[in-house]
Symmetry: C2
Subunit: 210 residues, 2 copies
Amino acid sequence: MAKLPKHKVRRHAERGHYDPATIHAIIDEAYVCQVAAVRDGLPVVIPTLHARIDDTLYLHGAVAAGIFKDLSHPIPVAVSITLLDGLVLARSLYNHSANYRSVVAYGVAREVTAPEEKLAALKAFSDRVADGRWDDARIPNSVELKRTRVFAVPLDHASAKVRSGPPVDDPEDMDRPTWAGVVPITVVRGQPEQDPGQDPGVSIPSYLGE
Amino acid sequence: MAKLPKHKVRRHAERGHYDPATIHAIIDEAYVCQVAAVRDGLPVVIPTLHARIDDTLYLHGAVAAGIFKDLSHPIPVAVSITLLDGLVLARSLYNHSANYRSVVAYGVAREVTAPEEKLAALKAFSDRVADGRWDDARIPNSVELKRTRVFAVPLDHASAKVRSGPPVDDPEDMDRPTWAGVVPITVVRGQPEQDPGQDPGVSIPSYLGE
């Protein structure tokens, strides 16, 4: 197999970060990642849920059926995770930008088959939804466990890219009376909405933070 | 060149949508897309800003330098856009899911060089940030226009996938006293924060909705 792509941030190299703490924090905050692979020589990309345990990124295989169909050979993947933090409005349109924290990881996906590792990964998916959910909902039975596919990607070829702060304008634009600044973007978890098919007497669990 | 991948939704085919109205609405609501391509036989994926005009998806080329470096041949890309709407908590962990609206588009990226089309695409990027910004900020000069690269992907090989609504549990789990429902997820634009380097007398423009 060819060597994995270089994972150094090239454009705006000053925004690159390679320390696990920065990379892990971005992965752990995001709900969705995008998994890219090559199929018949062409690129494919699919969104899926993920979770991290130590230096391993786990991908929920259910939504990645199109990528992980043929496992007779190792599958190189590129995984992208992006948190958008703000729209950066400069005095010139050219200097408009975005504040963001993103991670790209390159690696060869491995299917997780050992029951212990698979359960740990599924619990990590569950913990990301709500820490406490795993002990409250019905855990997977053996048939469900077999049906749920999980893939692992090592995080040793990952990099983060971060932009934050106000716009950076050219000196000659600084006195222009165009408002400049940042419109913050946040992802908000709203008030839980109960399944209308359930007895309203069942109260919202404390681990949902209500 | 090989044929573009099939763009039919395979898993959960009932969630697939192919009408332009559904596809366009998802593209227009999202701020960020993920562009996947093949480089040296391996997958690469990069987040970038995008905008749509009619049936064409425009990609901001600045952040896609790693993908669109060698334009001596056509570049097949896969573009993924995902809006996460909620975490779906079922009575069983197996039936946990997510509410989302996503689009995947396959196509061959073309660099936009005609000044008129390029300007229209840049205005579309700007309109997505805030309709009105284009007439307020300094528009690109000829040097900036040359430096800003824009790529176009036709939307004729695109599909949408949508899940909404409460969890779907197995009949035998329905009486389980585990709270079931949806935790809504929304993306919120916050109060604009002015560049500290600007005179506070410059007021927030009305097109930012404040």
